[in-house]
Amino acid sequence: MLEVRNAYCGYGAKAVVKDISFTIAPGELLCLLGPNGVGKTTLFKTILGSLKLQAGEILLHDEDVSKWSRRRFATKVGYVPQAHTPPFPFQVLDVVTMGRTAHIGMFSSPSAHDVAIAEETLHTLGISYLRDSVYTEISGGERQLVLIARALAQQPEILIMDEPTSNLDFGNQIRVLEHIRNVAKKDRLSVILTTHYPNHALIYASKAVVLGRDNRVSVGTPQEVITEEYLKDAYNVDAQLLGVKNRRGGNFTICIPALQM
């Protein structure tokens, strides 16, 4: 259980995000939504511990994480960055095994047990076939899944993802989100992810934190906080929310632009 309590985040003395509070429980998928420049990344980096909190607290199981070591933090919180290309052609299994770093000492190397855990996470995500591939040569969607596998190899309770669907094609976006939802549901992880797509939050998330202009924040279910007013205010666009029923009988709210024909 992660709790952000009355947090103020920003660079230097200037607060970009003011007085934000929310909690996330095991099995929940929380989407962090907001236009460019309202402090999404700032909040994100603060939760990850890259930026110092200006005020407030971040608690994990009621313990203040700011006093934790990097290593201890990494055994509880896994981070999935945007898919990128590192300068050297590591093997996929090696990349995933790097998730074990927090569990092994600074002067030691991973054991067979660590490698087995890495292989298991590859299996969980259905990408065992990538095991011996070269990380720099696989597709963007595969690379994103490998990074998720690496974070899962940390065996964390909380998974934090930075725009996991950016730069992915339509199919890969859905596949990646599907896996993320499974990880939350089946493995009872808490997942926090940022996205630029309101629909991703509306369809997949169980909770949403939306950041608007002038430090406005609201927290709730996606259907509660992603409103037409919010989209107008935050993005300055005319968008409309529609209730739809899909082929399998699921009820969803989706968002489309209110275009003039």
């Binding site: 990097r70 290593r71 960055p81 050297f88 093997q91 770093t101 927090a102 600074m106 002067f107």
Partner: protein, 332 residues
């Protein structure tokens, strides 16, 4: 397996190198003379042969082994830490600093040992300044980038200090001595020099070997390494200390020997891939072999010995081009 093969090749080259040079000692005789130090063999060789073997060739061969290994393992560690395959051990200014230290020592007619000390100290000082610049100006941004920029500036500064020393140095004695030092050579090495240089080099190697898994993680960048539980600040500091001590010690006994620290890690990567678990030991062995082989060539190519630094650059360039053509995906 691969490492065992490399070690055998290295040992072959190591012993073969005793038979190389202007003074003729056949490889068979060389092996027998070496063996005679362990088991008693009736001597059929001259006393000169033994002197050449143990007083001249042994220190030189050991020096080539140590210097080659030190430069290439430092280069390998830096390339990962700076996430840049074009980085060499001199990137933070250690070589430029050491050059100035040595030049200054020669200007003031220090003893040979003191010239080495001066080179070592100024090598460390240059990196120290670079590190402080990096620490001061990278509060927010990418710390490694600021550090590389700082290293370039400090390196340039110390290089111009070298020029000042050359400019005021006695053009008949000191200036040629400085110039030859800058070309790099192992010709004047003796055993006491080696003992002193071996300590930081072997210590640095041991620490970098122990950190090899963390080097993998570092090559994914600061933010990710931290999220994976690595204390990046301390780790970076340790790597820089190790690489700097090793390079400064190497340069202070050999002068400037270019390209080894840049090329050998790539050769090693070509053989065993980028995982530092294998890359570190391979860089050590391959670096030692590379410099041994090049030094052998420097000794026999012409009747007058060519400074080692020149030969490494001349041989290194085509190898580097070969790597560029053949392993493009290796570092993109």
């Amino acid at each position: 397996m691969k490492l065992a093969t490399m070690l055998i090749l290295f040992l072959l080259l190591f012993f073969f190198s005793f038979a190389i040079g202007r003074f003729p000692v056949s490889s068979g005789t060389a092996a027998t003379i070496l063996l005679s130090r362990i088991v008693s063999i009736p001597s059929y060789w001259s006393a000169e042969m033994e002197t050449v073997m143990f007083k001249i060739r042994l220190p030189r061969i050991l020096a080539a082994t140590l210097v080659g290994a030190a430069l290439s393992v430092s280069g390998a560690a830096y390339q990962g830490m700076f996430r840049n395959p074009m980085v060499s051990p001199g990137i933070l200014g250690v070589s430029a600093g050491a050059s100035f230290g040595a030049a200054l020592g020669m200007l003031f007619a220090f003893s040979a040992a003191m010239i080495q000390v001066s080179a070592f100290v100024f090598g460390l000082a240059a990196v120290g300044i670079t590190y402080v610049i990096g620490a001061l100006f990278s509060k927010r941004g990418e710390p490694t980038l600021i550090m590389i920029l700082g290293g370039i500036i400090i390196g340039t500064l110390f290089t111009s200090f070298v020029s000042i020393v050359k400019y005021v140095a006695d053009p008949y004695n000191t200036l040629p001595a400085i110039t030859f030092w800058l070309m790099g050579s192992l010709a004047t090495i003796n055993m006491p020099d080696l003992y002193v240089a071996a300590v930081p080099i072997l210590a640095g190697m041991a620490v970098l070997s122990a950190l090899r898994w963390n080097l993998n993680v570092m090559s994914f960048g600061d933010e990710e390494a931290r999220a994976l539980g690595v204390r990046t600040g301390i780790l970076r500091f340790t790597i820089i200390i190790c690489a700097t001590l090793m390079t400064a010690a190497a340069v202070s006994i050999s002068g400037i020997i270019g390209l080894v620290g840049l090329i050998v890690p790539h050769l090693a990567r070509l053989l065993v891939g980028p995982n530092y678990t294998h890359l570190i030991p391979f860089s050590i062995v391959l670096g030692a072999m590379f410099l041994l082989a090049v030094d052998d060539l420097a000794r026999i190519m012409f009747t007058v010995e060519i400074p080692l630094g020149i030969v490494t650059s001349i041989i290194g360039t085509p190898i580097f081009l070969y790597l560029l053509i053949n392993t493009r995906k290796g570092w993109v």
